[in-house]
């Protein structure tokens, strides 16, 4: 955790007064937030509302990672970016929007792609990781890096009119690989570029993801470990599913893990770590 603040300033007390009133947070919870760092992997449809509400709530440090630039087709759901930010790096655009909202949050933009080479070194600097990525190889990469460095992973996803959320590698619960030991065949994977998405669906899921991050960061516990929250926007229905426990045979978090360092996840998944073109050309 971050060191530093041991008491709230008068300005903090004014700014956070409405949430300081909550017995579930209080001064101690607010101080815990200010000492917590969160890495946001992906500043798109999920990462924008997530970063917005984490910053508003007073998280201590926010790492904002995205290799991509803002395009017009992002703006229907990636609400931290404006029309004037087209062509700008999403990580920078998101960071400046977040700073307008709360300049007391330390904001670190990373304009790069998460890779097996940089993931561990980055994730080790944060207390909690939020997976807001848009492709299968990155989801395995983030999972394995969180297992190897012992960080809780708050993971959300959205497509068309549906969303899913789970907290992995948290308090003895399962990791992503416990549930999905084998990646899906690339031809069965649909991404937002192909399948579309209603913008407010990642909006709802990114806010939900922020809620679970805030619970963990404030010192309460998340209720979404070993649980899958499914959202169907068409019939406005949420459903909570009890998941399997951590699997003894899991390649990442099991008793004899075979994943002891990060791999080539594009090769493992047979697809590229982007939502733009779906299949990796196997040369």
């Amino acid at each position: 955790p971050l060191t530093g603040r041991s008491a709230l300033s008068n300005e903090d007390i004014m700014r956070y007064s409405r949430q300081l009133l909550l017995p579930q947070l209080g001064v101690q919870g607010q101080l815990n937030l200010s000492r917590t760092s969160v890495l946001v992997v992906g500043c798109g449809g999920l990462g924008c509302p997530l970063a917005q509400y984490l910053a508003a709530a007073g998280i201590g440090r926010l790492g904002l990672l995205d290799y991509d630039e803002v395009e017009l087709s992002n703006l229907h759901r990636q609400v931290l970016h404006g029309e004037e930010n087209q062509g700008q790096a999403k990580a920078l655009s998101a960071a400046s929007a977040v700073q307008r909202l709360n300049s007391t949050v330390e904001c670190i933009p990373y304009r790069l792609q998460l890779s097996p080479e940089n993931a561990l070194q980055l994730i080790q600097q944060y207390d909690i990781v939020a997976d807001c990525s848009d492709n299968v190889p990155t989801r395995y990469l983030v999972n394995d890096a969180c297992v190897l460095s012992g960080k809780p992973l708050v993971s959300a996803s959205a497509l068309r009119m549906e969303g899913q959320l789970t907290v992995y590698n948290y308090r003895g619960g399962p990791c992503y690989r416990c549930l999905y030991p084998v990646p899906p065949p690339p031809e069965t994977v649909t991404n937002c570029s192909d399948g579309g998405v209603l913008g407010v669906v990642p909006g709802i899921m990114g806010c939900f993801q922020a809620l679970e991050v805030l619970k963990i960061a404030s010192g309460k516990s998340s209720s979404c470990g070993q649980q899958l929250v499914m959202f169907d926007a068409e019939d406005a229905r949420f459903r909570s599913i009890r998941l399997r426990p951590k699997q003894a045979g899991c390649a990442a978090c099991g008793e004899n893990p075979s994943v002891t360092r990060l791999l080539d996840y594009e090769a493992f998944c047979g697809s590229a770590a982007t939502d733009k073109c779906r299949k990796l050309n196997v040369l």
């Binding site: 492709n135 996803s157 068309r160 899906p184 169907d232 009890r242």
Partner: protein
Amino acid sequence: MAASIAIHLEFGGGAELLFDGVKQHRVTLPSQSEPCDLCCLWEIHLTENGVFSHRRPGILVLINDADWELMGELDYQLQDRDNIVFISTLHGG
């Protein structure tokens, strides 16, 4: 002979697109001499149109709002009015 069993089948996360986008299905398993497990649901209703195979990666099977891993997987004995969900994992963000 066990009585026939009515099952509520659901598909989500895109898995419903294999069934013309229909998410909710009612299935009645005929009376059989043996109790019916998930295997026979697969055999009778899902593999006949060739779209589903066992343990397809990226699909979670849920029995009455619990991961089927907690329920005995293919050995789970179906009961009348069970709710079985096949949900594709989403990766978009």
